[in-house]
């Protein structure tokens, strides 16, 4: 029998980047996580949403003790301290879950309120859960409805109006450091979507010299061709760092690619030229201690998102309106959510 709807997760609201990067799920380990979570007794439906700002597990369970079991399983999977995770995670139930997913898909819950990338990420997670055959009628419906809610929000409200992207903030910062971007040499580590968008922003403001490096050299070559740049074998990035002014990190590496010692060595060899490091990756690609160095400017995804969302006050009314509409839609869905062998959930609750 299907049970109540739950969500266990940590996001930028509950956990700083130092915690989020430790609990982020590497793409190659997603299958393993699904397998482990499926073994928990009582879990009947399951979907994992994993982005740079959140890791959330949506479940339909029939046992009241499922939070403990989910937490234990997840922390065991990561080798992460259970108590710390409990402190930085949240647990939602039933209608709250529906409302939360609606807000997540619509970008209301994002660090940069109104951003649209999140919808693609939610859709990808949904597709991944379908592949893992872990969805059932409840999560299927809730996810489908969340896509519709996101579409409605985008069409009928001005939530995205005046919103600034992370990429354009990064470009503004680059101009504050280097002025004209024509003479800047840019290195992109990883071939992620956000990195590509950031590069396109840099190009639109005059950047010309772009190099892409990725663990898979073919993928780097592909992106380099697309961006009219060149590709660099991943093994050479440490040696080549000294030649670049702007370095964008967006790899899925689990440990930092560059330590403070390496950055100090690079700056010794180019004392007059500042270095701008844009860390879009979670877990982060650059050692956080680099930020304290002279002439080195390190911005991670949280820093950029906060700057991008600095005009949030101006959009507060629109955000509130969105929230109200999504809440009523969530309530409506929850009331009408029919489970396979039962009457609407509301009767049971």
């Amino acid at each position: 029998m299907n049970g109540p709807l739950h969500m266990l997760g940590a996001s930028h609201h509950t956990a700083p980047i130092e915690i989020r990067e430790k609990i982020a799920i590497a793409p190659e380990r997603t299958d393993e996580l699904y397998k482990r979570l499926k073994t928990i007794a009582g879990v009947e439906e399951l979907a994992v949403l994993n982005t740079c700002n959140r890791v959330e597990i949506y479940t339909v369970t029939s046992r009241p003790e499922s939070r403990d079991r989910l937490e234990s399983c997840f922390c065991e999977f990561h080798g992460f301290d259970r108590e710390t995770f409990s402190r930085h995670s949240s647990w939602l139930e039933d209608e709250e879950v529906v409302r939360h997913l609606f807000e997540v898909s619509s970008g209301i819950d994002s660090l940069v309120v109104g951003e649209t990338e999140i919808l693609g990420q939610v859709k990808a997670s949904y597709a991944r859960a379908r592949e893992a055959a872990s969805l059932g009628p409840v999560l299927n419906r809730v996810f489908q409805k969340s896509f519709q809610a996101a579409k409605w929000t985008r069409t009928h409200t001005g939530i995205g109006r005046g919103q600034v992207s992370v990429g354009s903030v990064a470009v503004d910062l680059a101009q504050k450091i280097f002025g004209e971007l024509e003479r800047c040499h840019i290195l992109v580590l990883g071939a992620g979507e956000i990195a590509e968008r950031t590069i396109n922003n840099l190009k639109s403001r005059g950047a010309r010299s772009i190099t892409v490096s990725n663990r898979t050299f073919e993928r780097a070559g592909e992106l380099a061709r697309k961006l009219v740049g060149c590709a660099l074998p991943f093994e050479q990035i440490h040696r080549a760092l000294v030649d670049y002014d702007i370095v964008i990190g967006s790899t899925a590496a689990t440990d930092p690619l560059f330590s403070r010692q390496e950055a100090e060595e690079v700056m010794r060899r180019r004392p007059l030229r500042p270095l701008f490091l844009i860390d879009l990756a979670v877990p982060r690609d650059f050692d956080a201690a680099i930020a304290d160095m002279h002439s080195v400017f390190l911005y991670n995804i949280d820093d950029l998102s906060e700057l991008a969302d600095s005009n949030r006050t101006a959009r507060r009314a629109e955000i509130e309106r969105c929230r109200e509409v999504l809440e009523s839609k969530a309530r409506h869905l929850w009331k009408n959510l029919r489970l396979p062998r039962e009457s609407p959930v509301r009767d049971r609750v």
Partner: protein, 304 residues
């Protein structure tokens, strides 16, 4: 029109300095409202202020029969004048955002301070080596270099502010309009080279005369002047060798300019007052030009 004809040198200088202050206030008002001020308006106000200040200094020059550098008031006014001239050249050539705002702020602060301290304009000092045009040039170049170092201190301050904003992720308000670090770093280097070269030229010219008659040179002035020149030259050499860059360079340039400013009173005091004081032909106001004028005595420049 009659008012303009009746204005004496200090009144013209007051008017020029007030225009600098007005430009600064307009810039500040816009910044407080987080909007970009009109650089053209600021430029025009400052340029017009320079015309008025130049008129005042010209009238002083006629009276002194030479470059008016006879007391701390005149020296500071000449520093302000040089600073503004350099800003107008740099501002129009390199289009450096906020430089006009900072320049007008420093110029009005120094200028109005020198106008308010009556003692600084009470006595005119004796000129060394009489009316020699090379000595006039030496003095003018030395003070002009202070103008360059003043702008250097401002661009250094802007560099510090921009670095602070980028390091602390505070990009709103004033920080939003600062020039890039790259532009500021290059401007600092250019101004350091320019100031040091001008000061070196001044010392070379002055040195020709000092060597001929060492007894007439006060050791305090000589030591301070050579000390400042040595300090700036050392900074320049270290910068060229990339040993003193970015934040330490900016802090050093600001500190050195403060030292240079503070050296003006002792250098001035080391010179002898003119020997035969005479009543000035016109009564001179000490403070605001349109206040009631109080007749005062100013030393005649009899040594010239």
């Amino acid at each position: 029109m009659t008012l303009f004809l009746q204005m004496d040198d200090r009144a013209w200088i007051w008017a020029g300095n007030l225009l600098y202050a007005l430009a600064f206030c307009i810039g500040l008002f816009c910044l407080l409202q987080s909007r970009r001020h009109s650089p053209v308006l600021l430029f025009i106000l400052v340029a017009f202020g320079l015309v008025l200040q130049t008129t005042g200094l010209y009238l002083r020059g006629l009276e002194a029969r030479g470059c008016p550098l006879g007391n701390p008031f005149e020296i500071l006014q000449f520093v302000v004048w040089s600073l503004i001239v350099i800003y107008l050249v740099i501002g129009s050539t390199f289009r450096m955002s906020l430089l006009g705002f900072f320049s007008s702020g420093l110029a009005s602060a120094l200028g109005i301070l020198s106008l308010l301290v009556a003692d600084w304009d009470a006595v005119r000092r004796e000129s060394l080596f009489g009316e020699n045009v090379w000595i006039e040039l030496h003095a003018a170049l030395a003070i002009f270099s202070y103008g360059a170092f003043g702008i250097l201190a401002l661009t250094s301050l802007m560099y510090l502010l921009q670095t602070y904003s980028l390091k602390h992720k505070k990009l709103a308000g004033l920080f939003n309009f600062l020039p890039s670090l790259y532009q500021l770093e290059h401007m600092n280097f250019r101004l350091l080279v320019m100031g040091t070269l001008v000061l070196s030229s001044a010392l070379v010219i002055g040195g020709q005369y000092w060597l001929r008659d060492l007894d007439r040179v006060d050791p305090t002035k000589l030591l301070i002047t050579i000390g400042i020149w040595t300090a700036y030259t050392t900074v320049l050499v270290l910068r060229i060798r990339e040993k003193l860059i970015s934040l330490p360079l900016a802090w050093t340039c600001i500190a050195l300019f403060l030292v240079a400013l503070l050296s003006i009173p002792p250098v001035d005091a080391s010179r002898k007052p003119a020997t035969a004081p005479v009543e000035t032909a016109t009564p001179e106001p000490r403070n605001f030009p349109f206040q009631e004028a109080v007749p005062v005595r100013r030393s005649a420049d009899t040594a010239r």
